[in-house]
Subunit: 356 residues, 2 copies
């Protein structure tokens, strides 16, 4: 990872910061952006003109392919500030690798490692005052790539734009999360793009998620599209099931996002000698475990909310409540992850990365 100050990136600073106008105690997730953004264009087969500039609108053709054919991928990561004012990233290498994996699946060009990291570091350094201290506060980082070639013929774009936006975030407390296990709609197909963080995967989930909301549930746990027999993941979280003292989670496949939080939870669990089974998890075995009382916890794992305990799930019109676990696996992994992310503990796996 090259973190040396860069000559390559053209930096245009704002004349005056907007930070004074922001109410950091009342942030809606993802709605306020920091002073600067990063932009780099792909043209004639090469990524060109990497530039940090004031956050602001784009001028783009209405015929740009992103609007018509959804060639667009993104990442989500965070910067954290510790008690000494140092700023940290968490496993940024994973997000770099994943955005390129997503791009390949969407027939988009990969982004170069050196520019990715230089841009990320320079941008976060420039806007480091937007990373507020305090557990749960963070600066959400949104790298994304979109197709910009003008043309409504259905073929891959020859031009792209890679960008990074920064958005200050407070602790993302979802409240009691109640989930519906999908038995009709689905998120992705075998051989589809579910393993890519492709824009269209998210818009596709909004309608069935709205149906769940109307019934008082916040999220959907997706199942396989063939028979809805196997539990896969939630909208923006991977999902873990604790049956007695064993942790179950779906294996990575071409239908499931390979979450950074998921793999970190698995590593922490193994370190703590908790049995983790990465294997197809049947809906029926979880329903049965709930009925027998051996289902202790369900939780989601993802960058935005870190760990989200699930308080109830419904399956085919039947709802199962889960007892609150004061010091269950969910709260334990959440604490361990936050401690690493905020530099409050050792970092046995080398996950923390200082922005300096």
């Amino acid at each position: 990872m090259n973190t040396s100050a860069t000559q390559k990136i053209n930096v245009q600073k704002v004349e005056s910061s907007r930070i004074g106008q922001v109410d950091f105690d009342n942030l809606t997730f993802g709605s306020i952006f920091s002073d600067h953004m990063f932009e780099c264009d792909y043209k004639d087969g090469a990524w060109q003109n990497p530039t940090i500039k004031p956050y602001g609108p784009l001028t783009i053709s209405p015929a740009a392919k992103v609007f018509h054919y959804g060639q667009a991928v993104f990442e989500g990561m965070k910067a954290y500030k510790d008690e000494n004012g140092k700023v940290w990233l968490f496993r940024p290498e994973q997000n770099f690798l994943r955005i390129n994996k997503s791009s390949v699946r969407m027939a988009m060009p990969e982004f170069p490692r050196d520019i990715f990291f230089e841009a990320l570091i320079e941008l976060v350094k420039l806007d480091k005052d937007w990373v507020k201290p305090g557990l749960g506060n963070s600066l959400y980082i949104r790298p994304f790539v979109m197709a910009t070639q003008v043309g409504v013929g259905a073929s891959p774009s020859t031009e792209y734009k890679f960008m990074i936006l920064l958005s200050p975030a407070q602790a993302y407390y979802l409240g009691d999360v109640k989930v519906v296990i999908a038995d009709h709609y689905s998120r992705s197909a075998n051989g589809g793009v579910g393993a890519a963080k492709a824009a269209g995967n998210y818009g596709a989930q909004f309608f069935p998620t709205n149906l769940a909301r109307e019934k008082g549930f916040q999220q959907v746990i997706w199942t396989d599209a063939s028979k809805h027999e196997y539990l896969e993941e939630a909208g923006t979280m991977n999902v873990f099931f604790r049956v007695n003292d064993t942790l179950l989670t779906a294996p990575i496949s071409d239908r499931i996002l390979d979450g950074v939080t998921r793999k970190s939870v698995i590593a922490l669990a193994k370190k703590d000698n908790i049995t983790v089974e990465e294997r197809p998890v049947l809906v029926s075995e979880i329903v049965e475990a709930a009925e027998k009382g051996s289902l202790k916890e369900i939780f989601g794992a993802g960058t935005a909310a870190v760990i989200s305990p699930v308080s109830a799930f419904s399956y085919k019109e039947k709802t199962f409540e889960l007892d609150k676990q004061e010091d269950g696996f969910a709260s334990r992994f959440k604490k361990e992850l936050l401690d690493i992310q905020y530099n409050r503990s050792e970092d046995p796996f080398g996950w923390r990365y200082e922005v300096k």
Copy 2:
């Protein structure tokens, strides 16, 4: 359908047309746009400010939800000019109904019928010189809707933009189309968004289609994601198989786009007393028919190319060639459709719609 001149739409005309700069004999599909475009914004729960204005770039936030969550749907239709200079649309009602069906599945607001038709008619009338006479020439019409709310939280947008672009097109001759029958990748899932003309469905196909191209095939015929046993549709065309004198095509489902050309072919076939079976079509029965010699034709049906005869298909590394049919079903339906579209024949189904 209300075609009266409208007061509702604000019309800003170009000062001078770009039409003189366009080489109408050498058009690349979907790359040149006419003088005007239509734009209408959804805000505060209503579609507002319908406007026809000079074609040109948009100013849009990089945090607009379309870039991140792929809430975007579109339509594709055409205007045709007859020998007397009259301009015609083909079954525009179908495209109106379908864009709203797509929007509902993507948790987007429906667009009002009256503004849709008024905008369409006014816009095509204003740019009617861009519809060139001559069989095969047309003005391709691209209505689309995208999410414009600023925000990188994964939830439905509260703001949208509906637009119509016009792009002059020549006969879209694909040459000999050779197709690969999918046995690994897939286009859509049961309970997914395949039946919607959602932007992300198209970007998702580019990578597997590129793999087919590298092997000398132009298109993929998608199969069901569960077992790849059933033939579904191609990238931008529905697909028909002629076995002896019977026409087979996959039934409409939540995985397949309900094509206007497909339903028109079915209607024409029935009128002509050709047996049409809309039912799941097994890959194995088509392979077997090819081996026995009873598979006479395969063709795609879609607005862009009308009817595209398939000259060969490959399945699991084996390639099957199809004999050229000088006056087979493909050329017969193509002629019948073009004759109706270009006002060269009777219009027994009332499909033609004059723009005046």
